[in-house]
């Protein structure tokens, strides 16, 4: 197992190098630059600005310089748009916020999804089963830029329980976490239900019941571990998506996370910030997938990594 993890970790730099290289050149190929604006400046000034950010050097020199700074000093460079901040600082500020939001969304998704799925599987074909699974289909198909505003309308404008948007009080986290977590809760509910139904039909569950164990014990102690396997494999991409994929939700609720920075950096052609955010997302995705693979091996005795 340890060897497997090490091997995967050794591959990480290669993946990231490819990612950085592609991002670096793609961003430069896009039309427009970080300093093009609707009011043009004299060419001499434009040259001075570009010299200040080393944009006057040939592309391969810029690339070499960037790579050197990142590898040797972990320095992702200055932001072109936010003129008094470095990319490192922006990421250090935005990432914890995105993590916080993603974490809350994940808790919501797992708690709601697993309980609904388990109940639905126990009471298969009951009204609860049909009801919750229909809601789950809705939850998966309605995009969060629709769910978000509906929640705002209900809970902020009509019942005035929460603020419309912002990230200042604890309660400001509730609506964004639900909006972000809802499609995942729905997926998890369906996966849990399917997984549980498969497991409870198996012999060892019948044996457990035959021993006279309470239904609660049968479900929690024996069925759940196997029944949740499909959920675990979904959680890898799911969790990393919740951690990094909150772009839309961050915009709807005005949350100062990394997702907003990511979108705007691309629109602003803020090259260094584009590279920096993509790099961070890359690391998160790779690491999350690794963690899931490891957990999966632990849960499913049939899988062995060597």
């Amino acid at each position: 197992m340890l060897r497997y993890i090490l091997r995967r970790l050794l591959g990480l730099p290669v993946v990231l190098l490819i990612l950085v290289t592609i991002t670096f050149f793609l961003a430069r190929v896009a039309p427009g630059g970080p300093f093009s604006a609707d009011k043009n400046v004299p060419p001499e000034i434009k040259a001075n600005i570009e010299a200040k950010y080393h944009l006057d050097k040939p592309l391969h020199v810029q690339y070499g310089r960037y790579l050197r700074d990142v590898v040797t000093r972990g320095d992702l460079g200055p932001s072109f748009k936010h003129k008094d901040q470095t990319v490192n600082e922006i990421i250090e500020r935005g990432l914890p916020v995105s993590f916080q939001l993603g974490f809350l969304a994940a808790i919501f998704a797992v708690t709601f999804g697993v309980s609904a799925g388990v109940i639905a599987s126990i009471r298969q074909n009951s009204w609860f089963d049909y009801g919750s699974m229909s809601v789950a289909v809705l939850g998966m198909t309605i995009p969060n830029f629709v769910v978000g505003p509906i929640l705002v309308l209900l809970f902020a404008r009509y019942w005035k329980v929460f603020n419309v948007a912002g990230w200042e009080e604890l309660k400001d986290m509730v609506l964004p976490a639900i909006t972000l977590g809802l499609p995942f809760a729905a997926r998890i509910a369906r996966l849990t239900r399917a997984g549980m139904l498969e497991i409870v039909g198996q012999d060892f569950i019948r044996t457990a019941r035959a021993k006279g164990l309470a239904e609660r014990v049968v479900i929690v102690r024996h069925a759940l571990k196997g029944g949740l396997l499909p959920v675990v494999s979904f959680l890898g991409p799911g969790l990393s998506y919740m951690m990094v994929g909150s772009l839309v939700v961050e915009r709807i609720f005005r949350i100062p996370g990394l997702g907003q920075e990511f979108i705007e950096s691309a629109l602003n052609r803020d090259y260094t910030l584009v590279n920096g955010t993509v790099l961070v997302y890359g690391v998160i995705l790779v690491v999350m997938n690794l963690i899931v693979d490891v957990v999966y091996g632990y849960l499913d005795p049939r899988i062995r990594y060597d």
Partner: protein, 547 residues
């Protein structure tokens, strides 16, 4: 089993509640509030929550270009002059008085001895000399440095090669005689020079702070300003908090104790927050809700120093033909467009310079005339549009630009019989294509930098950096030079009128569409905010009326 039952009933309840509320919303009367809007909760106290619309790029006045930054500087920094909140007339700022030489070329400013930085240091003439040299330095590479070009030697220094820079820097026409006296020499007598001094490019920065902290001097923990308010907090992408600067020379005027400035760029979100009482003042509104918002008593609208127009690429036949360009202009029914499409009170633009600049009436010649437009196009060789190539109207992707473009497209088709395709691209691509003249007709907007028609007119000189149409006229270039040098204000106004007339009657590299307006919503208890054409509202005059 008990737990599962409870969970099941909880889930059922949630589902039922959700369904019920969606039905309630669908049938609620909010879509058409027939009578009174819902009352907004009052905050109370001298505190105000304002939406600024964007996160500032920086709070270094020599490095930014935007309106959102400007609104914050109106609290935390102050120039030699300060605008009257109603008329925008230059009032004393850091300078308590000034003299102008007879030839209009030398200004002597006397610094107010009570002017202090937020750390208690006195503001001196030396601060201004150092700051202006910084603002114009090629190393800072300010995109707005041209605002100071009226100062003698400013352009030469700003664009100097590395070797010449020290010499050019010393030749700059700004000199501190002593702590209290600043002498400024100009290239040309510049009628609007005093109003340039309340633009942030000319604002002072605290030398010791800048030298100690470098780029990081603008952070809240380092910032030293000289405005009525100080920067207490800068929570990136959340808000900026200003509190009174007890060292400010006119601190007795300031009533607000706390100003919270938000960077919400989604107008819909800001609007909802305003209705909920979370914001007291929003600087823009969601255009799609204009019909609903227009009925709200807290909504306001006023003229703004901005022009919305289309650039025409005059290097591409048949658009190189003046008669074709005039036909395109006369076929646009601007009044109908403003009444039925933009709807917020925009002013139909029958000239190019927006109305409202003191002492300048502008021209108004491009009124809707479909008959003449048809005839002009026929004379140009395209009767009823026959033989006219299919051209494209380009705009940056935005719902409101799309609406205007669709209507103009239709007007051209119905009046002139020509086919115009619409194309939209993302902002930076749009900028690139405008710059490279890779378009037929392209949307444009121009917001004046200072209160003078020149801010709209000098861009059309031959090969001007913001011309981008390929159009030029020798007489036009000559007139710009003459107007720059003219000291007599009546003669100068005449020259400016001649410029605009030439642009709109003989040149027409543009199709003016409308003049912008400011649109805002503000709580009725907030006082001291006066609509003006620059949308400039110094925070020191703003206060909350106590109950």
């Amino acid at each position: 089993m008990i737990t599962t039952t409870r969970a099941a009933s909880l889930a059922a309840w949630t589902l039922a509640a959700l369904t019920a509320s969606v039905i309630a919303i669908a049938s609620s009367p909010t879509q058409a509030p027939a009578g009174e809007p819902e009352p907004r909760p009052r905050r109370g106290g001298q505190e105000i929550h304002f939406n600024n619309g964007a996160e500032p790029e920086s709070l270094d006045p020599h490095k930014v270009t935007g309106v959102p930054e400007h609104r914050i500087f109106l609290g935390i920094l102050e120039g030699l002059t300060s605008p009257d909140p109603e008329t925008l007339k230059p009032l004393p700022g850091v300078a308590k008085s000034w003299e102008v030489s007879a030839d209009g070329l030398t200004y002597t400013f006397h610094i107010n001895e009570n002017a202090k930085w937020s750390n208690g240091d006195p503001v001196t003439a030396h601060d201004f000399e150092w700051s202006w040299k910084r603002s114009l330095s090629p190393e800072i590479a300010s995109q707005y440095a041209y605002m100071l070009y009226p100062v003698k030697g400013a352009e030469a220094y700003n664009t100097a090669k590395a070797a010449d820079r020290p010499a050019r820097r010393d030749e700059l026409g700004v000199k501190a005689i002593d702590d209290a006296t600043l002498v400024v020499t100009l290239e040309n007598p510049t009628a609007y020079f005093l109003s340039l001094l309340f633009h942030y490019t000319s604002f002072p920065v605290h030398r010791k702070t800048v030298e100690t902290h470098g780029d990081a001097w603008t952070r809240a923990e380092n910032f030293v300003g000289n405005g009525a308010y100080k920067l207490s907090e800068w929570n990136r992408r959340e808000n900026i908090v200003l509190t009174p600067n007890e060292h400010y020379w006119d601190a007795k005027t300031c009533k607000l104790q706390r100003i919270v400035i938000y960077p919400i760029d989604n107008h819909e979100t800001a609007y909802q927050k305003f209705l909920n009482g979370e914001l007291d003042w929003i600087s823009d509104i969601p255009a799609t809700k204009i019909d609903e918002i227009k009925r709200h008593p807290d909504f306001g609208v006023s003229a703004y120093l901005g022009s919305y127009f289309y650039r025409i690429n005059t290097t591409k036949p048949p658009l190189d033909d003046f008669n074709v360009r005039l036909a395109l202009n006369l076929a646009v029914n601007r009044k109908e467009l403003c009444e039925n499409v933009t709807k917020a009170g925009e002013i139909p633009a029958e000239g190019y310079v927006p109305p409202g600049i003191p002492g300048y009436d502008g021209v108004s010649v491009l009124s809707y005339d479909p008959v003449r437009a048809k005839k002009l196009l026929a004379d140009a060789g395209y009767p009823d549009g026959k033989g006219f190539p299919e051209i494209t109207l380009l705009y940056n992707t935005h719902e409101s630009h799309k609406k205007v473009a669709e209507v103009v497209q239709q007007m051209w088709r119905e009046t002139l019989g020509i086919k115009v395709a619409l194309e939209n691209t993302e902002w930076k691509v749009y900028l690139d294509r405008t710059d490279e003249k890779d378009y037929w007709i392209v949307r444009a907007g121009w917001i004046g930098d200072y209160l003078d028609p020149m801010t709209f007119l000098d861009m059309w000189v031959k090969d001007g950096g913001n011309n981008n149409t390929g159009w030029s006229h020798p007489r036009y270039d000559e007139l710009v030079g003459l107007a720059m040098a003219e000291t007599d204000s009546a003669k100068r106004t005449k020259l400016l009128l001649e410029l605009e007339t030439l642009l709109c009657e003989k040149g027409l590299p543009i199709v003016p569409v409308y003049y912008y307006v400011n649109k805002w919503m503000i709580s009725p208890e907030i006082q001291g905010v006066h609509p003006n054409i620059l949308d400039t509202h110094p925070w020191k005059y703003v206060y909350v009326e106590e109950e």
